[in-house]
Amino acid sequence: MSSLPMNRPTALPGFQESDNTAENPGVRAPLVLNMDRFGQVTRQVCQVAESKKPPFAWYAAFTISLGLVGLLGFCVNYLIFTGVGVWGLNNPVMWAFDITNFVFWVGIGHAGTLISAILFLFRQKWRTGINRFAEAMTIFAVICAGLFPGIHVGRVWLAYWLFPIPNQMDMWPQFRSPLLWDVFAVGTYFTVSFVFWFVGMVPDLATLRDRATGRIQQFAYGLFALGWRGSNRHWHRYERAYLLLAALSTPLVLSVHSVVSFDFAVSQVPGWHTTIFPPYFVAGAIFSGFAMVVTLAVPARQLFGLKDLITLRHLDNMNKIILVTGCMVGYAYSMEFFIAWYSGAMYERFAFINRAFGQYWWAYWIMVSCNVITPQLFWFKSIRTSIPIMFALCLVVNIGMWFERFVIIVTSLANDFLPTSWDFFTPTWVDMGTMLGAFGLFGTLFLLFCRYLPMIAIAEVKATMPQANPHWSGYAAHDDHGHAGGSVKPSFASPDALRSPGSGPDGGPSAP
């Protein structure tokens, strides 16, 4: 069949062919560029999984990531067989890299859920270009996060004590502790995120199944597509369930980082015991997560040729969110200082002055400059839409947010109530190796996902195209076929859309 009548960006005043970042309130900016047929979207996304060989860069990145996974495996085993003494922990600083990494990775995950759930509830259609791999990022980040509390308990073989499992000692977890809330929060978060991701992927796995030529692909994609056949009676319940999942994930994601912040806020350590922590942690999580999404999206769209689906407008929007959440984080930093002074609590005041000017002053100022100062560049549109600059700025944010968690955890512990017990934390090579290894694990999982699964929500992207709307002007233009058996007058749609059932696509460009 010939192509649909075009509604190309050229037809829209204010948009150029490959730049959809212009703001024109009268026109909805196109989210899919240079494509006007559904089949083009399918091909564009599926070619990544269907190509015989991924690009060379994929192999390079995969080799490095896999090497780091090996390092992680070595470090974790060394830790388990030797004891947590192989880390640089000391008496006041009993949490350091382990919990820093845990909070960092949980935070990374939050952007994925924000994109998939909160932007869905707000009907932000641009989410469809990025939600799938942002959700994948969430899941892999939570896997990395879950690793750290698991191994930092010391006697790893007793980690099952975290769960309320009937046992011969008649012993139960202590449910009044935020650490146990964490187990439930992160466990639920992982499960729900995974289910959300998988449910969203079922129609796209069906697409891959239907296009697959090899037996193995047909079987594997077919198995997980669950026999999806696009029935509208199925879509009806599917959309309800998806909406419910979004509505459930929204409070969930806010609760998860709040509970993580309770690990600190519920204790009495100066610098931790503050009420601002839950919202501050959530904002920081979204901030760091979006930076990670941009960090991943920029190379991925380049490498796999997805620039028409993950457009500059998507990146521009994400950079705006980074700017907003960066300002929130900056507000939280200053408010913490203000409250420390205003509370009149001696230890609290000391904790904050010590953070900025004590033995970890460098960590604090890395944090402030990376999280508050440099993101301000995103006020400029030229910077928000420049690929190299945004990539660099987002890397900087990733670094800054890692340091934020380090600053909160280590500076508060290293100099607590008793000056006689003060100490300085220095990481060992095992600390470093485990941290790098976690990045390797994340990278490995993410690269495998890019290679074998639909990286973009195909069905959802199609639904955001103007052609997906049955009342789109291009469908009403032709009257030359007439319609045959139409003795019954349809009752619901506009007469325009119904004048020519079935005539739609074969005409040329149309006058509305």
Binding site: Q174, F184, V199, W235, L248, Q467, G485, V488, G502
Partner: protein, 205 residues
């Protein structure tokens, strides 16, 4: 209107398939507008065992097909409340009770006295109750959705059809099943052709 093309279809024209072996008749459309207009007429013609198949959810098609709203949210609410209750009972039993119950094995609760707080410290129990509410709601939303949809189902007459492969790509289908009381192979086939379908094809069961 496109007629049946034997090259793309393993099935042959019209009434040659005995009714017993006929799953239904499938009409192909190339755009959502045509599908929706046709769906409206199929509904008005009084068919009950029929369905539209689309690569993405087409908005307004539910009304065109006359699909009733699913009761899924109500069931999910029930599951959520079950989660809340389980969350409370779990914590009250393990941290505040001293009796034994049978749960696969005999288990005994253990009253934890922590810094003089009450045994049933409801505010401290809320996070876990909340998480279990979300967990059960989310799992049941997905589980019940697939259950009602009859999925997973890996073998289906439609999945064996070559033409139908493009339903997950860029084609839109209406399928009227042979078990519909108003189904009559040749007449239904003509009816679908008259709706402006690009192709009409018998689907073998």
């Amino acid at each position: 209107m496109t007629t049946l093309s034997p090259t793309t279809s393993p099935v042959i024209q019209g009434n040659q398939i005995p009714r017993k072996r006929l799953y239904g008749i499938m009409a192909e459309f190339h755009d959502p507008a045509a599908l929706m207009a046709a769906a409206d007429k199929v509904r008005l013609a009084g068919f009950r065992w029929w369905d539209c198949h689309t690569p993405f959810p087409v908005h307004g098609l539910d009304q065109a097909m006359g699909i009733k709203r699913t009761i899924l949210p109500l069931l999910v609410f029930g599951a959520g409340m079950t989660g809340t209750t389980i969350g409370f009972c779990l914590q009250a039993f393990t941290n505040a009770a001293s009796f034994s119950i049978w749960a696969l094995v005999w288990v005994t609760g253990y009253p934890f006295l922590i810094s003089g707080k009450p045994l049933i410290s409801l505010p401290a129990f809320i996070p876990v109750m909340f998480e279990l509410t979300i967990l059960l709601s989310a799992l049941s939303a997905v589980g019940i959705m697939f259950l009602f949809n009859g999925l997973p189902r890996w073998n289906h007459p439609l999945l064996a059809n070559k033409r139908f492969l493009r339903v997950t790509d860029d084609r839109f289908f209406i399928v009227i099943e042979s078990r519909d009381p108003r189904f009559f192979a040749s007449r239904t086939e003509q009816f679908l052709k008259d709706l402006g379908a690009k192709a009409v094809e018998m689907v073998e069961a």
